[in-house]
Each structure stands twice: as C-alpha cells, then as structure tokens.
C-alpha cells in the first residue's frame, strides 16, 4: 500500500496538483487499490487529523503580526532600532536587522517581516543612499529571523506534527535567532566598511529614550508573548490570543492605525493562509496513517541504522537535504510531509527533537531566500522594486552567515536546548 501511496503522490505532485489534493487523492487511490478499508476512513481521519489545540496558534500569530505591521507601528520600531544601533558602520543596515529581531517577537512568519516592515526599512535605507540590492538583501536575509525567534508558525507546525512541546521549541529558537542577527550584522559591517555606507552622526541616549518611549507599547508585545510562555502563564495558543487582543487594542484605539474594516480583512486573510496549511495537514494525516499501517517510517529508520552511519554524517546529510528541499518547495508543506519520516531517525541517533526542530526550521527559512522558490525573496523584490534575477544574485553572500549559524547550532545542540531545559526541565513533552 505504501508503494501505491508514494508513487501516486509524487506523480500528482509533478502534474502540479496542489499538495493537499495530491496527498488526499493518493490516499484515496491507495485505499481503493488495496481494498482493505472503506473509503470513509480516509475522510474520517482528515477530520481527526486537526484535533490539536496548538494549531489555533497559527492564525492568531499571523493576525498579531499583521495587526502590528501597519505603517505607524513598524516605523516606531524601526526608529528605536536605528537610535540604538544606527551609529555602528552600516547604520540603517544594522537597524534593519535589529528591527527584524524585535518584530520577530510579535510575528510568526518571515514573509510578513519582508512585506510590511521591509517596505519601511528599504525606503529609509534608499533615502540615505544605500543601493537597492543591498537594502533588499539585508531585508530578505533578516526576515529569516522571524520564525526562529518566537513566536513562529513553522515551529507550531513542527511541534504539532512531531508531538513535541511548542513552548520548548519557541524558547529553543531564542538564542539561535540572536546568533543569526549577530552574524548578519557582521556581514553588514563588512560591506559598510568596504563601501563606506552612511551611518548616524552620533549616538545619543536622549534619542534612544525618545524613540523607546514611542515604541514602548509595541515592544511590550514580545515581552508578553515570550515572558508569558517562559513564566508558564500561558500556553502558546493562549499567548497568541492575548497578543492578538493586545495588538488590536493598541493599533485600533491607541495609534488609530487600524480600521475595523482592515481588521476584518486581516482576519480573513490569516484564516485563508491558515487553511492552506491545515488543509494539507488534514490530507497528510490520512497519508501518515496509511504509511504507519505499513510501518514505513520504522522500516526507513531501520534501514538508516543498518548502514551504520555516524550521527555527524547523518546531520550533514540532513542539512543538505533540507536546504535543497527548502529551495524548491514551500517550507510548511515540507515540515508536514517530512516530520513523520525523520522523527524515528532522530530517535535512532539519540538526537533531541527540540534541537532538531529548530535546525530543521532554520534550514527551511534559508530556503525562503534562495531561488528558485523563495517566498521572502519574491515579496522583497516586489516591495523593493528590484528585479528578481538581480536580487537572486545579490542574496547569495547573505546566505553564508546564516549557514554558519546553522552549522554551529547543528553541532552544538546546547545552544538550542540549554534555555528551554532551564525553563521547562529536561523532558521533551
């Protein structure tokens, strides 16, 4: 049955049938051919496949990010970031990276960062004389930080598919996210010195204080989300709902940046985006169920163990495979399809699923800025009005710092697991 299932899935995928329907139709074909179950079971498991409360965090974090992504709020965040790091050679380039870090604390998706905040960052950089390709590259590369620093939609998907704690994954991404920011800032510094880019005239605590006061309410959002989860006050889903309500209040009533009509649109769009993910999860759950009946994930893990591969070789292969997959396919679909396949392998090699979850998501986020299929790249090139081919070339050096961070966190798992173990204790549930 697994054979029919996988072959028909791949065939449908190549015909460019949407991924969700490729899986669903493959389920139907495999069950029909085997004749072992009535077809109802396929559709029955599509309903049960979504019974996980954590999935509700997906639309909530998308809504929170979009509500905060209006011009008024992102400008405040960007100004504060600039006041703080704008004096370093590379000026607004660093502010771009740092603003992405703050924004990452309220938004769960990289594409939101590249779109809304990115537009403001790139305009500001253009105004003081940075070239478009540089600005667009920094914006796209720093948008990858978004789903590494909590909250994070891909980590919710990983946690739900792997059955591990999303709270732990979130906290596990915190230090790697900061490392990415540092690595990108080094890159900005390097170019800034080489090309003599502009920077702030002088650093002033007064200016930092002023901009901080203006950005205070939005900056409180990451504090509520991350603090609430670390403090054990909220589950990630609850934190997400609190962030949404808080965001709506400040955007609508304090800054008056958000109309009710716009809010309705945001909620609608967020739910449609969510459905494209959860619809795949629904059809994938029947798929995973059929594979499990044949014991395929276990057989695969046994095969891997039979060739006697050391863990460090597995990790190299893992990263190479997921970097390549991330270049060609959409990140969340890869997670949904591949997590059930790789989980038994993690167990075999004694790898912590929290550690590997963060590594896997980082791999796929690098895929967002690499051609041919890179959502952040597409969005940034559109917003920045830079030709996609040009940006594809300009972005290449920017993947280097991110890959360095990837290698570091792959081989030093403590960078990921130290903080969540400190907060939640050692078990992975």
């Amino acid at each position: 049955m697994s054979g029919t299932l996988i072959v028909s899935f791949l065939a449908l995928l190549i015909l460019s049938v949407p991924i969700a329907i490729s899986m669903g139709a493959a389920d139907v074909i495999a069950v029909f051919v085997s004749g072992r179950f009535p077809l109802e079971t396929v559709f029955h498991s599509m309903g049960t496949g979504l019974s996980s409360f954590i999935l509700l965090a997906i639309p909530f974090f998308i809504i929170a990010g979009e509500v905060m992504n209006s011009g008024g709020i992102t400008t405040r965040i960007f100004d504060f970031a600039n006041a703080l790091v704008g004096r370093i050679p590379g000026g607004l380039g660093h502010a771009n990276v740092f603003a992405s870090v703050i924004f990452a604390g309220m938004s769960g998706s990289a594409v939101a960062d590249a779109g809304g905040l990115g537009a403001i960052e790139m305009k500001a950089m253009k105004d003081v004389g940075f070239d478009d390709e540089f600005s667009a590259s920094v914006t796209a590369a720093s948008s990858c930080i978004g789903p590494i620093i909590p909250p994070s939609v891909p980590m919710v998907v990983f946690g739900a598919s792997a059955g591990v704690s999303v709270g732990k994954l979130f906290i596990g991404g915190f230090i790697p996210g900061l490392l990415m920011a540092i690595a990108l800032s080094i890159m900005v510094y390097y170019y800034a010195v080489k090309r003599n880019y502009p920077r702030l005239e002088k650093f002033s605590w007064k200016y930092v204080g002023q901009t901080f006061k203006r950005a205070f309410l939005p900056i409180l959002t990451p504090v509520i989300i991350i603090g609430g989860i670390i403090g054990g006050i909220f589950t990630p889903t609850e934190a997400a709902s609190v962030a949404v309500v808080y965001g709506i209040i400040i955007a609508m009533f304090v800054y008056k940046d958000l109309s009710f009509k716009k809010l309705r649109e945001i909620i609608f769009q967020a739910l449609v985006t969510t459905s494209t993910v959860t619809f795949i999860m629904a059809t994938a759950s029947a798929f995973a169920w059929l594979l499990a009946i044949d014991g395929l994930p276990m057989k695969l893990a046994e095969f891997v163990s039979s060739i006697n591969m050391p863990a460090w070789v597995f990790l190299i292969l893992f990263n190479v495979i997921f970097l390549i997959l991330g270049m060609f396919m959409e990140a969340l679909s890869i997670l949904i399809i591949m997590v059930p396949v790789v989980m038994p392998m993690f167990q075999h090699f004694g790898l912590d699923p929290i550690h590997m979850g963060v590594v896997m998501v980082l791999n796929l986020m690098i895929g967002l800025i690499t051609p041919p299929v890179g959502m952040s790249l597409f969005v940034t090139s559109k917003v920045a009005n830079v030709k996609l081919e040009k940006l594809c070339k300009a972005i290449i050096p920017w993947t280097i710092p991110l890959i360095v961070v990837l290698i570091i966190i792959t081989y030093v798992p403590n960078i990921v697991t130290w903080l969540p173990n400190l907060v939640f204790g050692v078990s992975s549930k």
């Binding site: 077809l39 996980s52 639309p59 889903t237 449609v272």
Partner: protein
C-alpha cells in the same frame, strides 16, 4: 460561464463572512478563557472541542477560498518547462483528477457526517457530525470555484493558440 462566476462571487462573499465571524469567535473564546481562568479560576470546558471543530470548518471553507485566490501550494517547476502543446493535455488530466477527488470527497464526507451525527461530543451536547459536515460544505464550493478557474484557464489558453501561440 457567466452564471457560474456570478454564483461563485456570491458564494465567496458568504463564506468570507462566515470565516470572519468564526475568526472573531475563536479569538474571543480563547482570550476570555485565559481571563476567566486567571481572574475567577473558571475554565470553559467545551472551549477545546468547539475550537477544534471550528478549525476544521476554517480549514475546509478556507481551502475553497484558496482556490479562488490561487493560494494553494503546488509544485509547478516541472510543468512550466513542458512545451505548451503537451502541457495543455497535462493540465486537462490534472483538472480531471482534482475534480474527481473533490467529488469523491463530497460524497464520502457527507457519508461520514451522516454516520457521526448520532455520536455526541464529550464536553458539550453537540453531534460529532457537525465537525464532518465541514467536508462536504467545503468541497462543494471548492468544486464550483475550481470549475470556474479551469474554464478561465482553458479559455485563455485557447486564445493564445488562436493568436499563433504568441503570449
């Protein structure tokens, strides 16, 4: 064709309104749940089951909308490399497969809905069937949206060929 697109735009609006209402309801339910638990130590026991049911509704209604807004994720790198003449037939095959799946889904989704109507949810007195009703109710507009999209695509391809294959 025109009647279909008019019907579809009405359907789109109705589904959109339903989804927005579900969205507000889910945010409010989860948020009020947090407040009640901390302020009064009360928990809404049915919140979990009802939220999960609504998430299934969002998934299947949203999947229909996503056909109209072309938001579904697919892998079209290979297809775009195939010459136009052959591609036409592949697209036709693809469309037939998708339609067949959606029709089968509607039929069996409805069957599962009927079977689970007698089952009650654990924390609230609602039939489990309400959850599965989302399948046929989502699949039917998905079929209609999809037919419209396929016909539009087909028409624009035919036009291209009329003009000697020029884009």
């Amino acid at each position: 064709m025109e009647a279909l697109s008019r019907l579809n735009s009405v359907l789109f609006k109705i589904i959109k309104e339903i989804m927005i209402i579900i969205g507000f309801f889910l945010i409010a339910l989860t948020f009020i749940g947090v407040i009640l638990r901390y302020a009064f130590g009360i928990s809404i026991i049915w919140a979990y089951e009802v939220s999960m049911m609504l998430l299934v509704w969002v998934s299947f209604l949203g999947a229909a909308i996503a056909v109209q807004t072309k938001s579904h994720v697919n892998f079209d790198l290979l297809l775009s490399k195939i010459p136009e003449k052959t591609r036409k037939w592949i697209v036709l095959l693809k469309d037939i497969i998708i339609l067949a799946f959606l029709v089968i889904g509607t039929y069996y989704g409805y069957k599962v809905f009927r079977q689970t109507m007698r089952q009650s949810m654990q924390t609230i007195n609602l039939p489990v069937g309400l959850l599965y009703l989302a399948l046929p109710v989502g699949f039917i507009p998905m079929i209609l949206f999809f037919i419209e999209e396929a016909l539009t695509e087909f028409a624009s391809n035919a036009q291209k060929i009329d003009r000697g294959g020029k884009k």
